[in-house]
């Protein structure tokens, strides 16, 4: 893989790398969700709030399980063979650093004028 985003070499097994990254993000969010819910639960007193958070905690644990199982099945996550995981970690770090250095997005992205008025406002059309 190299810095030239037009170079087809970068497309080689890019889908697997991308899916690994998206799944990892999904997994981290699920982990965060479980941890947040557990801590939040220990700060709530109202019965209603505790019931809500307890349910969301359980649901979060189940979703975390599902994501973990899927990732292991797809070989995107290796909790047992750590040398496999080591390779994945380093590989995706290198690739993502390279993507980070690419000049992918145009300079000005404010898209001014496209979202802050109705199309014919300047011609007083909007009061027609």
């Amino acid at each position: 893989m190299n810095q030239d985003y037009l170079d087809p070499i970068n497309a080689l097994n890019m889908p697997e790398m991308a899916d690994t990254t998206f799944a990892m993000d999904f997994l981290l969010r699920a982990k965060e969700g479980v941890r947040n819910a557990a801590i939040a639960l220990t700060e709530t007193t109202s019965p209603e709030a505790r019931t809500l958070l307890r349910n969301q905690l359980r649901q979060g644990i189940a979703m975390h399980q599902e994501i973990t199982d899927l990732m292991m099945r797809k070989k995107w996550f290796h909790p047992y063979e750590l040398s496999e995981q080591y390779q994945l970690d380093q590989l995706s770090a290198n690739n993502t650093v390279m993507i980070g250095q690419m000049n992918l997005f145009p300079g000005d992205t404010s898209r001014k004028g496209m979202f802050d008025r109705t199309p014919d406002e300047h011609m007083k059309g909007d009061q027609a």
Partner: protein, 82 residues
């Protein structure tokens, strides 16, 4: 356990955090479905979208009992792009 009509301050902030977290989870799981290649991963993200939507509704209902609760405007009062 007193039967208060409003929530205690600390738990209200927890609901503030929980609501924002779930909102972002929903946004991301929806957005990512446009990027992922693998169908099973996409389906699992869709499941997360459905669950997060439900969770948001539940949190919003309870969040309405926060002591600092107030009227929600139609949209953001001032445009963000100046």
């Amino acid at each position: 356990m007193n039967k208060q009509s409003t929530l205690a301050p600390h738990e209200s902030m927890e609901l503030h955090e929980a609501l924002n977290f779930k909102t972002l989870c929903l946004a991301k799981s929806k957005l990512m479905q446009g990027l992922v290649f693998d169908q099973e991963l996409k389906d699992l993200m869709q499941k997360d979208v459905v669950q997060s939507t439900q969770a948001i509704a539940e949190i919003q209902a309870l969040y309405a009992k926060a002591p600092f609760q107030t009227q929600v405007p139609q949209n953001r009062p001032t445009p963000i792009l100046n």
